[in-house]
């Protein structure tokens, strides 16, 4: 006589219980404190975007930036004796923007329009415009625009990932560095490769290179700046953007510039070695 239980759904006869491995004890959140005079390690790669004339990709911690350069492209319309140059800096729609709250995205109407459009907003926010023009101002002196009459050069910077805590100036700094590498990749004639540095001065006069988060700023920061340089062109300052809590005197200003120069030279060295390596790899 068959005594199999037909009323219940039984598992296969050789079934065994799932056994989970013992859970690892959670390691304490060991956030290594970066020494004040060091830059965080970065990852650089050029030429990932194949349909652009030049492109660069950069990762620093949780910040990921991608830049594509289009140009020199012919323009329609009347003759111009030098290329027109434009930069567009954009956060991808899901990336939270620093200082979003202060610059309310203008009005409710534009917000409503943005939410009805699946691709997010159609126009740039105030912060995006500001960083766009900072990158444009920084790169403009280096490009030999008069070599390209009747053409336009466009740079599109996209922030693919970013921490909400990331400082606005820090982001601008990496965006400039990445854009100038993309410009080199595009083969557009330049006077020099622009690199920038980001420095925060503390109340006791110390300088922190590449400060990533805003958290210490309120506590101990007195002033910070991102300054772009043409390092091999008499260290000319091509872009400067400072934020300070109180008054900004000359000594603070020149020390900000000096330390940013130091950082920009370190980044320049990294960019140079990357470019040399990529030339060797091509051979």
């Amino acid at each position: 006589m068959n005594v199999q239980d037909r009323r219940r759904l039984l598992g296969p006869p050789n079934a065994r219980l799932l056994v989970f491995g013992s859970r690892q004890p959670e390691t304490a959140d060991t956030q290594t404190v970066k020494p004040a005079d060091e830059i965080r390690p970065m990852f650089l790669k050029t030429g990932l975007i194949t349909n652009a004339n030049g492109s660069a990709y950069l990762e620093v911690d949780n910040t990921i930036i991608s830049v594509s350069v289009f140009g020199p492209r012919p323009i329609r319309g009347s003759f111009i004796d030098r290329a027109s140059f434009a930069v567009e800096f954009k956060f991808l729609p899901y990336v939270s923007q620093p200082m979003e709250a202060i610059f309310e995205c203008h009005n409710e109407a534009s917000k409503a329009a943005a939410s009805s459009n699946l691709n997010g907003r159609s126009s740039l926010t105030g912060i995006e415009h500001k960083i766009s023009s900072f990158i444009e101002t920084s790169l403009l002196p280096s490009i030999l625009l008069e070599k390209y009459p009747k053409s336009s050069i466009d740079i599109f910077v996209t922030v693919i990932a970013n921490d909400a805590q990331t400082n606005l100036l820090n982001l601008a700094n990496w965006a400039v560095n990445c854009s100038s590498l993309a410009l080199v990749d595009s083969g557009i004639e330049c006077k020099d490769v622009v690199t920038s540095g980001h420095v925060r001065l503390t109340a006791n006069g110390n300088a922190i290179l590449d400060p990533a988060s805003n958290s210490e700023r309120k506590a101990e920061g007195v002033a910070e700046a991102v300054v772009s340089f043409m390092n091999y062109h008499n260290n000319e300052i091509v872009g400067i953007w400072t934020e300070s809590e109180g008054a900004l005197d000359e000594t603070n200003l020149s020390s900000l510039i000096e330390h940013s120069k130091k950082m920009s030279r370190q980044i320049r060295a990294a960019v140079n070695s990357y470019m040399l390596e990529s030339v060797h790899n091509d051979d």
Binding site: K130, S133, H233, S244
Partner: protein
């Protein structure tokens, strides 16, 4: 406006001389003459208009609204409108950014608190009717005057509404209104100056022609305590933009420090003058 190569070279060389010669014979720290009027818009809390001799004109109106403090992120909102430019253009957005960020970081919003729940929110609306040179300096001067002349209705209800929720009520006597910035306070609204770099010289308030030949430009903030952020650079022309030296930056800093105080004094004397409220 396009300058011919000869005009450009002449202008550039005379501005790069030691001492420099500006086309309108100004000194490097001298502003263009301007005409300012205040408190002429009947329906706003404060207003100002500045006109320059070249026809540039800017009107700023300050309005206020009572809001629940917890619901808003910022108690000041700036809106800039420049005739001939789209509101979402880079040009207008950057003007807006500079005004908004300097007011956010250097305006004591504590004066806008009404009760423990409610605050005034200030709307600064700027219109540039005509401009020839970069209008940020003009906008900033006008905004300063408008904020100085802003007065807010006097609160007559209880200040402490923590236990009993109460809508704030105001005195309907406009003569009782309190100025936004009390006359005895040490605080003054922040100002922004535009500086152009030509050769080794720096110039405040560059005119259109000076901008054309400038190699770089700077936007510098100023308050009673001295130079404040922003200290940014900006390309005022799209031709022959060059990098700056540390010397230029320091020179620009000194220049703003030197003339900032005088500008504040001049603007304050305009703001005190109650008589000039008929402009039409």
């Amino acid at each position: 406006m396009k300058l011919s190569p000869a005009e450009r070279s002449y202008l550039h060389d005379s501005l790069a001389l030691q001492p420099p010669i500006r086309p309108d014979a100004r000194s490097p720290a001298q502003f263009r003459p301007l005409e300012a009027s205040i408190s002429f818009l009947p329906s706003s809390n404060g207003s100002a208009r500045i006109r320059l001799s070249d026809g540039s004109e800017c009107i700023v109106s300050v309005k206020s609204k009572v809001v629940l403090t917890a619901n808003v992120s910022s108690l000041i909102l700036v809106d800039v409108d420049v005739s001939g430019y789209r509101d979402d253009s880079n040009f207008v957005s950057n003007l807006n950014y500079h005004l908004q960020s300097i007011l956010n970081s250097h305006f004591p919003t504590a004066v806008l608190r009404l009760t423990s729940r409610y605050s005034f929110k200030i709307f600064v609306d700027c219109v540039v009717l005509l401009h020839t040179s970069y209008p940020l300096g003009l906008l900033s001067l006008t905004t300063y005057l408008a904020l100085k002349t802003t007065s807010l209705p006097k609160l007559v209800s209880e200040v402490n509404d923590e236990e009993v929720e109460e809508q704030p009520t105001f005195s309907d006597d406009w003569d009782q209104s309190t100025p936004l910035i009390p006359t005895n306070s040490t605080f003054q609204p922040p100002l922004l100056f535009v500086v152009a770099v030509v050769g080794d010289n720096v110039f405040i308030d560059p005119s259109r022609e000076e901008q054309e030949v400038s190699e770089n430009g700077m936007i510098i903030g100023y308050e009673t305590q001295g130079v404040i952020s922003p200290f940014n650079n900006i390309s005022l022309s799209d031709r022959e933009v060059k990098g700056m030296k540390l010397l230029h930056v320091i020179k620009a800093h000194l220049l703003v420090k030197k003339c900032g105080e005088e500008v504040l004094k001049a603007l304050n004397s305009v703001a005190k003058d109650e008589g000039g409220n008929a402009i039409f």
